[in-house]
C-alpha cells in the first residue's frame, strides 16, 4: 500500500537539509568541548533522585517538576515480577488498567480508560509508539525489553504543550539505558501458565572512543486466557499469542560537543485483542522504526534534532469488520529543539516540529487518509526565588487534513471534504513553591488535545449491511483542561514521603467512535462524532517509604468523580462513550517488599471499586454491564543464586481466579518462573 511519499519526502528533505546545515554552523560556533547529552544515571547518583525531561522538555529533578508524575525505576520494574509493561504499570498510583487478554491491556491515567484508549501518549525515549490509526498503544509492538528500561516516566494530566496531540490525559515516556553511559548485559528466561515461554536479552557493545551500541531482543509465546469471549465476539477465534522484537540503539561521538544517535527496531506480534467497538478479534502487527538524532551542547544551548519514521502494519479480523482490515500506518516526525539558559534564573526551550501521518482505507481500499502538522512550541522556566519557580509552556499545532483515492459507489462524500485545517493551541503552566525543606506545593493548569484517529478520520471503511461504518472528515480534536493543586511532604523521620493532589479536569468535544450517522449514505453508516463534555474531580494520595533497613512499602488511594454531559439524541445505539460509570470512584494500591541478602520478596494488593463496562451484545448493540469491585494480589519471590544469576517466581491475580476485572473475558491466575542472568 502506497502511503503518499510524494507529499512527505520533499518537505522532509528540505527540513533535514536545513537542519543539518544549521547544526554544522552551531557545532563550528561552539568553541568549548562539553558533555552533550543527559546522563540520567550520573545525575540520579548526584541528586539522589531521578531526573526527567518529560514534563517541560528540559532536564529537571523529579521533585521540582511542575506536574504530578510517577517514575518507575529499573529496580521497581524488576521487583514487579511482570513480564510486560502493562504488568509493571498496574501497580502505579492512579493508573487504570483494563486487562483484556494476556498480551493486551489498556492503560488510563485518572480514569477515562476504554478499549483502545486514545488519551494516553506513549513514547520510548521521546519517540512516539502510540499507534495513530486507531489512536491507542498496542503494547506488544513496543520494541523494548524490560531489561533495557532505565525508568518509566508517567506524567498525569495533559502535556500537549511539550508533546502535541494525544498527550490529553497523560504521557508515559519509557527511558532506556544510554549505551554510551550505561553498560547493561542481561538475559532472562521465563516460563509460566498460559503456556508462556519468553526469552529476552540486552547487551551493550562499546566501540572505543567512537561510541556504543545497545542490542536488545525478545521472543514470547503464550496462549490467551481460556475464559469465554463476549457473545458478539463469537465469530472470532482466539489465536496463539506471539511477540518477537529486536532493537539496535547506537550512540556515537561525532564531535567533542555532539553525539549522534541512530536507532532501528522491528517487532512482530499476533494476539487476540479488542477493538474500540468492544468486539474481540485477531490482530497481527508488524512494526518498524528508524530514528536519527543529533545532540549538541553548544554556546547556543542544548540543541537536539530528531527525525524518525514509524511503520505499523496491522491486520485485524473481527466480526464487525467485513473481511480483514489491513492498515498500513506511517508517521514521520522531524523536530528541532533548543534548550538554553540565558540567565541564571531563566531556562528557555524552543521547538519546531513537522509531522506527516498517513493510513490507507480498509477493508475497502483504494484511498489514503493523511495529515501534515507543523508545530511551534516554547517553554520558559523562571526561578523567581530559590524556593519558587514558574514554568509556562505553549504550543501551536497547525494540521492539514487530506484524502486521496476512490470511494465505494454512492458514497456521499468527496475527497474535497477532507481538505481542511485544524489549529490547536496547548499550554501548561506550573507554579512550584518549596514551602519548607520538606514541603512542596504545586499549582498547575494545562490544556491538551486528543486528535481524532486516522480511523475516525475515515481510514476504516465498511459498507456491508447490516454493519456499515466509516470516519468523518469534520471531526474536531477533543480538548482536555486540567487544574491541579499538589502537595508533597517528606516524612524524614519515617523514611517516607507523601505525594498528594487535588485535580479537576474538563473534557470538551468528546470523541465517540460510533456515535453518529453519515448523512446521505445509501447504507445506514455509523460515524464518529464530537459531542458533549465530561468533568472529573478527584484526589490522589500516595505514601511510600522504607523502614527497618530491609523493608519498603507504598500505599495510594484515588477518589474520583466523573460527570458526563452528552446532548440527547446525538448518539446512536453503538455509542461507546460513558466515562461517568466506567471510571472507578475508588482505586487503592498497596505494596510491601523485603530484601535481605540474596532474597527479595514483594507483594502487591490492588483494589478497584464497582464500575460499568461496555460489552457488545451484538455487533450493533453495545450495552453497559456491571463489573463488581475486586481485589488483585500479585507477588514475586527472588533468590540471587550467584552474583550473576537470579531465580524468581512471580504471579498475577494470585487471589480469585478467574476474576471479572473488565467487561471482557475474566482474567485468570498467572504464574511465572524466571532465570535472570546479568554480567
Amino acid at each position: 500500500m502506497c502511503i503518499r511519499p510524494r507529499r512527505m519526502v520533499p518537505a522532509k528533505q528540505r527540513l533535514r537539509s536545513r537542519g543539518l546545515s544549521a547544526f554544522a554552523l552551531l557545532l563550528a560556533a561552539s568553541a568549548a568541548a562539553k558533555a552533550q547529552s543527559i546522563d540520567y544515571g550520573s545525575l540520579e547518583q548526584l541528586f539522589g533522585e531521578p531526573v526527567t525531561t518529560s514534563v517541560t522538555g528540559s532536564p529537571q529533578r523529579v521533585s521540582d517538576v511542575p506536574a504530578t508524575m510517577e517514575i518507575v525505576t529499573a529496580d521497581e520494574i524488576r521487583r514487579s515480577g511482570a513480564t510486560d509493561i502493562p504488568g509493571v504499570l498496574r501497580h502505579v498510583a492512579g493508573i487504570d488498567v483494563l486487562q483484556w487478554t494476556t498480551d493486551q491491556a489498556d492503560i488510563g491515567i485518572r480514569g477515562y480508560d476504554q478499549a483502545d484508549t486514545p488519551r494516553l501518549l506513549v513514547l520510548i525515549d521521546g519517540r512516539q509508539v502510540y499507534a495513530d490509526f486507531f489512536g491507542f498503544t498496542p503494547w506488544s509492538t513496543l520494541p523494548v525489553e524490560l531489561g533495557s528500561i532505565r525508568q518509566i516516566e508517567i506524567v498525569k494530566g495533559p502535556a500537549s504543550a511539550l508533546f502535541g496531540f494525544n498527550a490529553a490525559g497523560g504521557v508515559i515516556n519509557i527511558v532506556t539505558y544510554n549505551p554510551l553511559y550505561d553498560e547493561v548485559n542481561t538475559a532472562s528466561l521465563v516460563g509460566g501458565t498460559q503456556g508462556l515461554a519468553q526469552g529476552s536479552a540486552v547487551g551493550t557493545v562499546k566501540l572505543g572512543d567512537i561510541g556504543a551500541v545497545r542490542l536488545s531482543a525478545g521472543l514470547r509465546a503464550n496462549h490467551d486466557f481460556s475464559t469465554p469471549l463476549p457473545t458478539a465476539s463469537l465469530g472470532s477465534q482466539r489465536i496463539g499469542q506471539d511477540r518477537g522484537a529486536v532493537d539496535v540503539d547506537a550512540m556515537m561521538r561525532v564531535a567533542d560537543n555532539a553525539q549522534l544517535r541512530v536507532e532501528a527496531s522491528h517487532t512482530t506480534s499476533d494476539q487476540t485483542d479488542i477493538i474500540p467497538s468492544y468486539v474481540f478479534g485477531a490482530f497481527h502487527y508488524d512494526a518498524d522504526s528508524l530514528l536519527a538524532q543529533l545532540n549538541a551542547d553548544t554556546s547556543y544551548g542544548l540543541i537536539q534534532t530528531t527525525a524518525y519514521s514509524n511503520w505499523l502494519h496491522a491486520m485485524i479480523s473481527a466480526p464487525t469488520i467485513a473481511g480483514t482490515a489491513d492498515f498500513h500506518n506511517q508517521v514521520t516526525v522531524v523536530q528541532l529543539q533548543d534548550i538554553f539558559k540565558p540567565a541564571p534564573d531563566h531556562t528557555l526551550r524552543g521547538t519546531i516540529e513537522y509531522r506527516h501521518n498517513a493510513s490507507n482505507t480498509t477493508p475497502i481500499g483504494g484511498a489514503d487518509i493523511f495529515y501534515d502538522v507543523f508545530s511551534l512550541g516554547g517553554m520558559w522556566s523562571w526561578a523567581i526565588e530559590p524556593s519558587l519557580s514558574l514554568t509556562n509552556a505553549v504550543r501551536l499545532d497547525n494540521l492539514w487534513l487530506g484524502r486521496s483515492g476512490s470511494f465505494p459507489m454512492g458514497f456521499p462524500l468527496t475527497n474535497a471534504d477532507w481538505n481542511r485545517s485544524i489549529v490547536q493551541p496547548a499550554f501548561n503552566s506550573g507554579l512550584v513553591w518549596k514551602v519548607t525543606d520538606d514541603d512542596t506545593l504545586r499549582f498547575t493548569v494545562g490544556q491538551g488535545a486528543q486528535l481524532p484517529s486516522l480511523v475516525e478520520f475515515g481510514a476504516i471503511l465498511v459498507q456491508t449491511p447490516p454493519v456499515a461504518f466509516t470516519g468523518s472528515p469534520s471531526l474536531q480534536p477533543e480538548t482536555v483542561r486540567n487544574y491541579e493543586l499538589g502537595w508533597d511532604h517528606r516524612l524524614t523521620s519515617l523514611g517516607a514521603r507523601l505525594r498528594s493532589s487535588v485535580f479537576h479536569q474538563e473534557s470538551h468535544d468528546i470523541l465517540d467512535i460510533a456515535g453518529g450517522f453519515l448523512p446521505g449514505a445509501v447504507v445506514p453508516t455509523s460515524t464518529p462524532i464530537n459531542g458533549g463534555r465530561s468533568t472529573a474531580t478527584g484526589i490522589e494520595v500516595a505514601f511510600d517509604g522504607t523502614f527497618l533497613d530491609d523493608w519498603r512499602w507504598g500505599l495510594s488511594y484515588r477518589l474520583e468523580s466523573v460527570d458526563d454531559s452528552f446532548p440527547a439524541g446525538l448518539t446512536n445505539t453503538s455509542t461507546v462513550t460513558d466515562f461517568q460509570h466506567t471510571t472507578p470512584v475508588h482505586l487503592v494500591k498497596a505494596h510491601l517488599g523485603w530484601s535481605q541478602g540474596p532474597w527479595e520478596i514483594d507483594g502487591y494488593l490492588d483494589y478497584q471499586s464497582r464500575v460499568l463496562g461496555f460489552s457488545s451484545a451484538t455487533p450493533q448493540l453495545i450495552t453497559l454491564v456491571p463489573v463488581d469491585d475486586y481485589v488483585t494480589l500479585d507477588g514475586r519471590v527472588a533468590y540471587k543464586l550467584t552474583d550473576h544469576v537470579t531465580l524468581a517466581l512471580s504471579g498475577q491475580n494470585l487471589g480469585t481466579s478467574p476474576q471479572q476485572q473488565t467487561s471482557g473475558p475474566r482474567v485468570q491466575r498467572r504464574v511465572f518462573g524466571w532465570i535472570n542472568v546479568g554480567f
Binding site: K34, R61, F340, L494
Partner: protein, 179 residues
Amino acid sequence: MSGGGSWRRGVAAFLAMLIASALPAEAAFDETNLRVAARVLGFMERPPSGIVRAGIVYAPDNPRSAADAASLQALLGDGLRVGNVTLQGKLVRINEAAGADVALFLLADDTGGAASRLAEVARAEHKPCITTDLAQVRAGTCAIGVRSQPRVEILVNSAAAAASGVQFSTAFRILITEM
C-alpha cells in the same frame, strides 16, 4: 484501658515524628557532601579522572576552620573514590594556597574573610573551588557550593566559576542554582 493508652502513645509518637520531620535539618560537611562534590566534577567541561589531589584550604588562625579541615582530611583518608575520580586530600593553609600542588580546592568552613585570598588564587591558577559554606559562594570567593541535606543542592557563582575557568554542561547548569 491499656490498649487505649498504647494507641494514644502510638499516635503521639507518630505526631512527634511528623513534627520532627518538618524541622529543617542542619547542614554539615560530611562524606555525603564530599561525594556530591566529587560527582560535580564529572559535569565540568573537562572532567578530571583518576587520582585528583584536592587542597583542603583552611584558616590556620581559626581553630574551628582547622578542625573542619582535619575532619575533611580524615574523611578523604587515603583517597575517596567516587565515579571516575579518587579524591586525595592535602591540607593547605590559606596563605599558602598559591602554587599548591593540587587540582582543586576544598574550602573548609569558618575561613571568614581570609577566603578572599583563595579566590584570587583560584582565578589566577584556574582551579575550581568547592565548599559547603554557601556564604562564600554568594560572596564570590568560592565558585561551587554543595550541600546534601535535606536534599542535594548545588550553588554555582557564575562569575567566580568563569573567572577560574570552570564551565559546566548545559544540562547540568539547568539542574543547579546559578547566581
